[in-house]
């Protein structure tokens, strides 16, 4: 059972076939994440950040080794069980916000609750609350095309947070945002981390994001090169 950890990876290896040889995207990664962390995977392009996030998010399975996420063995999950784990317990934030274009902001946030079959009354309350967290309670009727990049990403955060998952994974969430909007959404996420206790795990090479991290794991060629924790975020206010 989980007990004191949220995620534990053990000698995680992921290789991809590449012609006759193979690419090793992850090489013996063993990491433990506790509840309520605000951590990030950093490192040069191709170092395996997205691959690791994928495995933790139950979108992919390891070649060898294992990972336990929220008490579930990732390598043993069927497609259905993996979907259910994501649906119930993991929020995703993407580099390109990926809102569903024909639906309003409100409906985009509502979508995960529909999948969970949350009753209508409760759903409405939860959606409004999530929109308030990201400061967009008044933009519920807007379509994604009417929202700015920063607003879109905040709606995406509301969509990821509305079901109050214990874990939120964000792959380069600021890559398409300017500095001001980047800080805005990072502050929003930090606040949610503080107030709701949600664990955040980023994959990024954006210095602005790194400035907010309380734990920074540096990957190089699929290996953990450094694992640093900061008592208070290193570059807060940058």
């Amino acid at each position: 059972m989980t007990g004191n950890h949220l995620i534990r990876t053990e000698n995680l290896v992921k290789t991809y076939p590449m012609g006759l040889s193979q690419i090793t995207a992850l090489n013996n990664v063993s990491l433990v994440f506790g509840a309520g962390e605000f951590s990030g995977l950093v490192g040069p392009s191709g170092s395996g950040k997205t691959t690791l996030l994928n495995i933790i998010g139950s979108l992919d399975s390891p070649t060898s080794g294992g990972a336990e996420v929220l008490g579930r063995r990732i390598e043993k999950l069927s497609h259905r069980e993996a979907a259910e784990l994501r649906n119930h317990s993991i929020g995703f934030i993407f580099q390109t916000f990926n809102l569903l274009p024909v639906y309003t902001a409100y409906e985009n946030v509502e979508f995960p609750l529909l999948l969970l079959k949350t009753p209508a009354g409760q759903r409405k309350k939860m959606v409004m609350e999530a929109l308030e967290w990201v400061g967009l309670a008044d933009r519920g009727r807007s379509r994604p095309s009417q929202l700015s990049g920063g607003e879109s990403q905040r709606i995406a955060i509301a969509r990821a947070m509305v079901k109050r998952p214990p874990l939120l994974l964000a792959d380069e969430p600021t890559a398409n945002l300017d500095a001001e909007n980047s800080h805005h959404i990072l502050q929003t996420m930090e606040k949610l981390n503080r107030e709701l206790g949600t664990s955040f795990l980023f994959a990024t090479h954006d210095e602005k994001v790194i400035g907010y991290l309380r734990r920074k794991i540096t990957l190089v060629d699929g290996r953990v090169a450094k694992d640093e924790t900061f008592p208070s975020p290193a570059g807060k206010g940058v």
Binding site: T50, L53, N54, G57, L59, D60, S61, H79, R80, A82, A83, E84, L85, R86, N87, H88, I90, F92, F94, Q95, T96, N98, L100, P101, V102, Y103, E107, E110, F111, P112, L114, L115, R159, D171, E172
Partner: protein, 424 residues
């Protein structure tokens, strides 16, 4: 969730409008064509029955064997007795005797010499008695072009075109030369009371209509008739009932070996029409099948394009934790919604058009100039119960099947690539 899907459909017109229009159009065409062919079939049967040998006909066995030669020497005798029995024991039909005959029609000039002449086909039936169903069966009043209906013995009607070709009109005297039931030659003068047109090219070319008593007297056919025809009192030809009743009648004479014993045949067997109707039914099936295939291809393609266009959306939904099965089923639900709405609209439009053509008809005499079948040139569609649901087969089935095959791509999707694809 259905509400959510419907919203998506409603807002994203390329998701709904194009497929919807395709379904509407296809379903409408299916319904209209179906009703048209049904109408065609119905017109065909009805015309053949009216101008030919009824819904069922009784002839002597010998006559029936050579019916196309109008062998009046083999005609039924004792018709009065048979009729009485038929009216008592087979009341589902209106019964009436008819004589078909052929001969030569001669138009004399003032000196009695031939001015014009031509072969003539003749139909004789009970024109004068008030109980006769013929006037309404044949719609004689409507068919009349010039002159009046015959009022007394010795008056006849001629096909309008035939009369024009002979250069005569109402009031003219014509001489019919034919052979009697016993093979002798018979001639008689008649007065043309009026001219008619049935809208059936074969009837309208060289036809003569006379009262049966007149022809009986001329051809020595007292109490005889080539056939006794029966029409369903209900109006439409009922295939099953016609077969049942004719079997019942024929069983009465089962033991007889008399070649002149009466024998009942149905419309389908009378004119070798069962084959033709079978062919029409097959054509109907083929049309529906072609539509199903064409619509399937179009909608499958639409589904495929939609899937490609919505690749991103599908990816997000999978990443958010929707199962592939759920995404797949939602695509099929969307297709079912589109198919159902499209089929309802398409069927409504198709029925409206079919009803219109059923009521008002559609004149295609221009295309039928030389036809020899007994077919009216005014076409009426016939809306049957089937027309109300036939369109739903291609409309819903093809749409759903299209989405089902196109949507299989979802299962090929690797979740491990989702994040990368979504970054693009």
């Amino acid at each position: 969730m259905i509400r959510f899907l419907s919203l998506g459909l409603w807002r994203d017109r390329s998701r709904s409008l194009f497929p919807l229009l395709t379904v509407i159009f296809g379903v409408m065409l299916t319904v209209v064509l179906f009703s048209w062919i049904k109408g065609f079939e119905d017109n065909f049967l009805q015309t053949n029955a009216r101008l030919g040998s009824g819904h069922v006909a009784i002839m002597s066995r010998a006559y029936a064997a050579e019916a196309d030669q109008l062998p009046n020497d083999l005609a039924l005798t004792g018709v009065g007795g048979i009729l009485e029995r038929l009216r008592r024991d087979f009341p589902a039909f209106a019964w009436t005797p008819r004589i078909h005959f052929a001969g030569l029609l001669d138009v004399p000039d003032k000196k009695g010499e031939t001015r014009a002449q031509g072969p003539v086909g003749g139909l004789a039936f009970d024109l004068f008695s008030t109980a006769s169903p013929e006037k309404s069966i044949l719609n004689l009043e409507l068919a009349l072009v010039r002159g009046v209906l015959p009022q007394k013995k010795g008056e006849v009607l001629l096909a309008d075109e035939f009369a024009a070709n002979l250069g005569i009109g109402p009031g003219a005297t014509v001489t019919l030369i034919a052979s009697t039931m016993y093979g002798g030659m018979a001639t008689a003068n008649f007065t043309v009371a009026g001219t008619f047109r049935f809208g059936a090219p074969a009837m309208d070319r060289s036809m003569m209509i006379a009262d049966i008593s007149t022809i009986r007297a001329l051809l020595d056919m007292d109490d005889a008739a080539g056939e006794i025809v029966g029409f369903f009192r209900a109006g439409f030809y009922d295939r099953e009932k016609a077969e049942r009743e004719s079997e019942r009648f024929n069983n009465l004479y089962h033991a007889s070996t008399d070649p002149f014993a009466p024998q009942m045949a149905t419309l389908l067997h009378l004119s070798g029409m069962s084959q033709l109707l079978g062919w029409m039914d097959a054509m109907l099936g083929a049309i529906v099948a072609i539509f199903l295939t064409a619509m399937f291809i179009v909608l499958w393609n639409t589904g495929l394009m939609g899937n490609i266009r919505r690749y991103g959306e599908t990816g997000v939904r999978l990443a958010l934790g929707e199962t592939k099965g759920h995404v797949y089923r939602s695509m099929i639900s969307e297709a079912a919604i589109v198919g159902l709405i499209g089929s309802i609209i398409g069927t409504t439009l198709g029925l409206a058009l079919a009803f219109y053509v059923q009521k008002h008809g559609f004149d295609f005499s221009g295309m039928m100039r030389n036809a020899s079948m007994l077919m009216t040139t005014r076409f009426h569609a016939r809306v049957t119960g089937t027309a109300f649901y036939i369109g739903f087969i291609p409309g819903v089935a093809a749409t759903v099947l299209g989405a089902a095959t196109a949507g299989r791509a979802i299962y090929k999707r690797q979740t491990s690539r989702l994040l990368k694809e979504l970054e693009a």
